[in-house]
Assembly symmetry: C2
Homo-oligomer: 337 residues x 2
């Protein structure tokens, strides 16, 4: 499938869905739309993912099957400055795939255009309507369950999940990803958008996926969300923790992050505090241990400085650590398997 | 307003909404429907609330303005054995008020009957559609915020909230209740049904209420939900904790409860573990302290045994404790104000 990815004014630093699909998806990406970087290329900014030209609007995109909304603003709203591109895509008969809280299929103009031009609006953040409360049974599956947990949003939980599952498969293990957010769902083609589920069903939505896949694989890598001390999103994090009942956890952090992204009045607590909180909160439901750390060194210039940051991070956690994109995942993978 | 309360096969032990409305609502309760106890009276089972006859069906109910669904099964579904009573109420022109996850207004038969007979279906668990993510500002309100937290579901958080607010008002303080569940909303006539909100908006739904009321009162008593180590509902609990940013917490427990209600394979951790978890999880967002305990001694026969249970509970918490329904709330209220 040939796709274009919309990431206006946010590529690459604040376009984590776009980056995730470029890095892990099996789509052919024809163009990235970012009106602030038109004329540049993906590889000018991110060297180790699928390359594509960056263009200003759908007018500059060649033949594609779908337009994918590759940014996820706080709150998940639809930015009206994207409307002309979505409209243009639908008028060309392209499907539009989005992971916003705002459902494109509920937008009168988009619904009408999709109908007229025979194309599909796919809101991957719309949860199935048969979810219910957890039964408390995720710990019973055969697979070992590994959950990525974080110090904040946008620190690399989805990336870590994907990298670890790929590295485990490369070693011959039968490993599956359990996607819980829009990017993971877009990449894997299935999953429950846990942050969009009714809060009473948060754990249940995760449990349902664990039970569905848990006896067919040796390892399940569960994509975590948010952070257990996030002023807005901790409910989602807590529901995933108790719904997935992980045997092991990998703590994800972004080098240099000291304050909660978008909530700068809140300082991140110390790394050992996160380890204590995740483990002590998990224990009464199912014992799970933080066995390794994944550091996102995207903002650290130079491999030497990045290696130093990883070493410091590992020392603070007293556990193996790595940047799984920049360096070798072996030490983390061994701790996890 | 004259009401009948449906509580088939569950009154009084598993009918917490019915009991809450009998105890704290200002409605005139004409009858309680429980086909297993028809012919008995509320006062045969619960001496200290509004009395009413217990009847088998709507056929035995006199003139009322509304039928209220007073039971909240795990999962929040609609039991088809209740259909004939809801139908009969609507055919008599009564409104029907429910706090289920299943919305009566979306039921074709009920919607048609309500339309034909000019009455209203009020689903109090349907959240407003303008909720969004928390801004992280609840700690900025003038009021002192007091949150009830629990060792499990159905241990007395709503009751404790109501009793403490009433006791504070009796002492001349300006105190308001912030209702987060169906019973509280039915009693108070406003509130957000937090367990039914999109999980990303859980904290935001609570914060919105704190901000709305927080500068108009000296004390806000926030109704907690679930438990922070509940295998199914902890997401809701965590969202309330970080959305409300309480200054003080009251830990609620039910005497004799050793396993999670409905999830009997899970033991409750020790009481000090709960205190540690609630305080350490709150701290990175807003420092809050568990200052007192509320023990529900409903299952303890005899006041002496109940007093002993309360004393043991207070010792385990190392804080003032009481059964606020059975005994004097003074010690707990003083710790809280």
């Amino acid at each position: 499938m040939r796709i274009a990815i919309l990431a206006h004014e946010q590529f690459p630093g604040r376009a984590k869905t776009a980056l995730g699909v470029l890095r892990y998806g099996d789509h052919e990406v024809t163009a990235v739309l970012d009106r602030d970087r038109a004329g540049e290329r993906v590889s000018d900014h991110v060297p180790d993912v699928q390359d594509a030209p960056i263009v200003g609007s759908m007018d500059d995109v060649g033949a594609v099957d779908a337009l994918l909304i590759g940014i996820a603003p706080i709150g998940g709203g639809f930015d009206e400055s994207w409307r002309s591109d979505v409209r243009a895509a639908l008028e060309r008969g392209c499907d539009v795939v989005a992971g916003l809280h705002y459902f494109l299929a509920d937008d009168d103009e988009f619904a009408r255009l999709a109908d007229e031009h025979g194309c599909e609006l796919r809101d991957v953040r719309r949860p199935p309507d048969d979810l219910t409360v957890a039964d408390g049974v995720a710990r019973e599956v055969d697979a070992e369950v590994i959950l990525t947990v974080g110090t904040d949003c946008s620190v690399g939980k989805m990336t870590t999940t994907m990298e670890l599952a790929a590295a485990a498969r490369e070693r011959g293990h039968d490993a599956a990803v359990v996607p819980t957010g829009q990017t993971g769902i877009m990449v894997e083609g299935w999953g429950n958008p846990v942050d969009r589920v009714v809060s009473d069903f948060t754990a249940g939505a995760v449990e349902e996926m664990i039970v569905e896949k848990g006896d067919d694989h040796d390892y399940l890598f569960v994509e975590g969300q948010g952070s257990i001390v996030h002023p807005a999103y901790s409910a989602v994090t807590c529901g995933i923790l108790h719904g997935a009942m992980p045997d092991r956890m990998v703590l994800c952090h972004r080098a240099g992050r000291e304050r909660i992204h978008g909530y700068e009045e809140f300082r991140l607590p110390a790394l050992p505090t996160y380890v204590d909180l995740y483990e002590s909160l998990a224990a009464p439901v199912h014992e799970g241990t933080v066995v390794a750390g994944a550091l996102n060194t995207m903002d650290v210039a130079g491999d030497d400085a990045a290696r130093e940051a990883v070493a410091e991070f590992g020392d603070a956690l007293d556990a193996p650590a790595a940047d799984l994109v920049r360096f070798d995942p072996d030490a983390v993978l061994e701790a996890v398997l």
